[in-house]
Amino acid sequence: MAISPSIAAHRFGLGAYPGELQALAADPAGGLWYQTQIRIPQADPDVLRRALVAMRTAATIEDKPARQAALRALFKGIRQSSRTQFDSAFAAAALSATPFVERLTWFWANHFTVSAKGKPRVLPFAVSFVADAIRPHVLGRFADMLIAVEQHPAMLIYLDNALSVGPSSRAGRDRKRGLNENLAREILELHTVGVGSGYSQRDVIELARLITGWTVPIGRKQSDASRPFLFAANRHDPGPKTILNIRYGDGLAEGERALRDLAIRPETAHFLAKKLARHFIADDPPAAAIAHIAGRYSESGGDLARMSQALIEIAAGRPDWMAPKYRQPMDHMAATVRALGPEILKARQTLPSLTQFGQAPLMAGSPAGYPDQTSDWASPDAVMRRLEWSIFAAKRARISLTPEALAEAIFGAELSPESRFAVAGAESPRQALTLLLVSPNFMWR
């Protein structure tokens, strides 16, 4: 597998720090670069457990005003601490020794978007969502990620399944509460087979019935606080369910079986492959590239490591399938940090900056997440914002290299004549850095 240092660093990674291209060039087969990244990190269950315990404690306060005040204080504390923690977390991610895995993590986190926008109660659970449900599985099985995601309290609350009650269940009959289709619809439309793949409203309702009872143990005194997921059997809708012509029965295991069945469907392989190809290969990836990635997924039974490796195979074997990709705001910021160092990030400004760019983490406007094509991010206003941000970043940069040497170090032979000319012809070193940060080389990967 031979891919160029520039493609490895920029297309599949988070940009380059000075010296990174030389390090990659010393590994000509690219094997080490890839292999050293393949290690599965462990989830940190403590964050989630703390949030859950705090929520449970607050939720059990009998007096309503006191309860609401406690919850408000809890949200405020989490918001504030997430803002400071985010600076270091983002800098650490941007400087990661495993940038390809970081990119895959960001990709899957966006595929399974949870958002606190307009729904602040999602936030306490969302802060650890990526660590709990995404990161452990980015090089594992998609089915495992799917189940971890759909049983995570952030997703159950975000898409309302925590409130869904089977109409014929014990709780449904007693309390006249009903089914909520939201999560089931998005599982089919956004998470697995994809919209337009042939499922019907009937399938949505049947899946919604099948996952009734998948909820969060808040305000339930008898439940086990150490587990963030609760299967409430008294809400589960009894009777047979048929989803995409497969029959399912009652209980938690049947719901998990349905997710495993959905995960290995060819429509899912195609839907995920197309999205991954759009992220790494081209805005409009050729059908052959999608088929190659989907093939690796299907033949491995939904192994995401094999699927990710298919991307590298394409870069090495079929570079003609690839087209330039425009860096999204978060990637542009990460590449800036990787090039100039984390000092350019002002304290507590990472999150507001991403908000200004329209790509704040955990704040996407819909469960579809942030879009992934050039036209979504290269609007006139977005280009102006990037320039404005780069002016500030260049002002804060403290680097020992000259801007020209830095440009050479980051892009090597790929540095375009336009970018080189602009950096060399700037009126000051600071302006040269600004121009480098918005140069076509920096904007496109």
Partner: protein
């Protein structure tokens, strides 16, 4: 920014490129604002049909009761009590309500339905440009600052061949000319960045001219996401200028009320209050130009007629739309009301849509912006000749 002279030159050139389009159809002083309410507004909460015999039973715990102060319209309909400004406009004949309306789709997918509402076609992802951009091409040619999108990223409705300025309100940062010139040169060979930067600089100049001495836009707070009414006020500031844009698009989110949407108060009340204030901010901001203005606020689909288990509503079909402005023949509700009996509901669960969103938009674009019928039937809304525009929305 283009001078009057260069505007005439580019408009004439564009007129030559589009058969049958002449300068006489340029919008002149007429203004149009499209507000896209993303997430599916519950039309039965915004415009409750309190006189419908099945309403109270079907709507259950989300039904307005007489003590909740819903604001009366004609024919047994009412406005949500949070929409006081909109109600005042209705009473003065400057607001028209369309009900049981939807874009041409029945998928209940936000993303498909918004895509259809934005691309103007009958299939999702059938086109990469939007109906409002194509309407812009038909009336204004390539005048770069005729259209304006106030949004975080350029909405599909406004994407296409006609140039559109994009703007999301924030602090205006000074960009030295020595820098912007170098960026322009550096981008000259880049087919994406060159035009985007040129238009961005143009909008930046417009905003710098509008900004106060502290570099902030009127009504905006730097760094904070603004609510719809504040963005509406900003759009009005741009549109009020004699040489400013004439056609603008705004978007508002958070309408996907699956849980705890409230009745007279709560989440829907906040959203609808914001929308109502947006109409008022546009009227105030435009001043005398309001008389030549039409604002359409629409959503991708409605929601289930019955409440769900969480006292919210799930994805449905027919919803309501609002048409406001001094040029509107308002003070009435336009609907072919389908009713709310079990048989009348779409698939037994959603308000039926009896009006195609394109009929409403074609009526407004034709009578207000004078987009020719031929262009409406083929280019703006492809293959829509069978969808007849609704007449009588605009004052004559």
């Amino acid at each position: 920014m283009l001078s009057r002279r260069s505007f005439l030159a580019t408009a004439a050139a564009a007129g030559a490129a589009i058969p049958g389009v002449t300068l006489a159809r340029a919008p002149g002083e007429r203004r149009f604002i499209f507000i896209l309410l993303r997430g599916a507004m519950d039309g039965l909460a915004a415009v409750p049909p309190i006189g419908d015999p099945d309403y109270a039973r079907v709507r259950g715990r989300l039904a307005f009761t007489p003590d909740m102060g819903a604001l009366p319209l004609h024919n047994g309909f009412a406005l949500h009590p949070a929409m006081t400004e909109a109600h005042a406009l209705y009473r003065s004949g400057e607001l028209l309500v369309a009900h049981a309306i939807a874009p041409p789709h029945r998928t209940r997918s936000h993303f498909d339905a918004q895509n259809i509402l934005e691309n103007g076609a009958t299939r999702a992802f059938a086109r990469h440009d939007g109906w409002l951009n194509r309407a812009l091409s038909a009336v204004g040619g390539n005048r770069a600052d005729l259209g304006l999108a106030i949004a975080e990223s350029e909405p599909l409705t406004m994407r296409g061949p006609a140039k559109v300025a994009g703007w999301a309100p924030r602090r205006v940062v000074l960009i030295p000319e020595t820098l912007s010139e170098r960026v322009s040169v550096m981008y000259s060979a880049d087919p994406v960045l060159a035009p985007a930067f040129a238009e961005g600089l143009n909008a930046h100049a417009l905003a710098s001219a509008n900004a106060g001495s502290d570099g902030r836009m009127g009504g905006a707070r730097g760094g904070r996401a603004l609510v719809l009414a504040e963005n509406a006020g900003l759009a009005a500031e741009f549109l009020a200028r004699p040489d400013g844009p004439r056609i603008a698009m705004l978007e508002g989110g958070q309408w996907d009320t699956h849980a705890g949407q409230g009745v007279a108060s709560g989440r829907m009340a906040r959203l609808l209050g914001d929308l109502s204030a947006a109409f008022e901010r546009i009227k105030t901001g435009l001043g005398p130009a309001w008389r030549q203005t039409v604002v359409v606020a629409a959503t991708e689909f409605g929601r289930t007629a019955r409440p769900n288990g969480a006292l919210g509503t799930d994805h449905g079909y027919g919803s309501a739309a609002f048409i406001a402005g001094g040029a509107v023949n308002g003070g009435k509700i336009v609907t072919d009301w389908p009713g709310m009996s079990q048989q009348a509901l779409f698939e037994g669960r959603d308000l039926m849509a009896t009006m195609d969103m394109r009929a409403l938009l074609k009526g407004v674009l034709g009578d207000h912006l004078r987009v020719p019928r031929q262009a409406l039937d083929t280019g703006v809304f492809p293959e829509s000749a069978a969808v007849r525009p609704i007449f009588d929305i605009i004052r004559h």
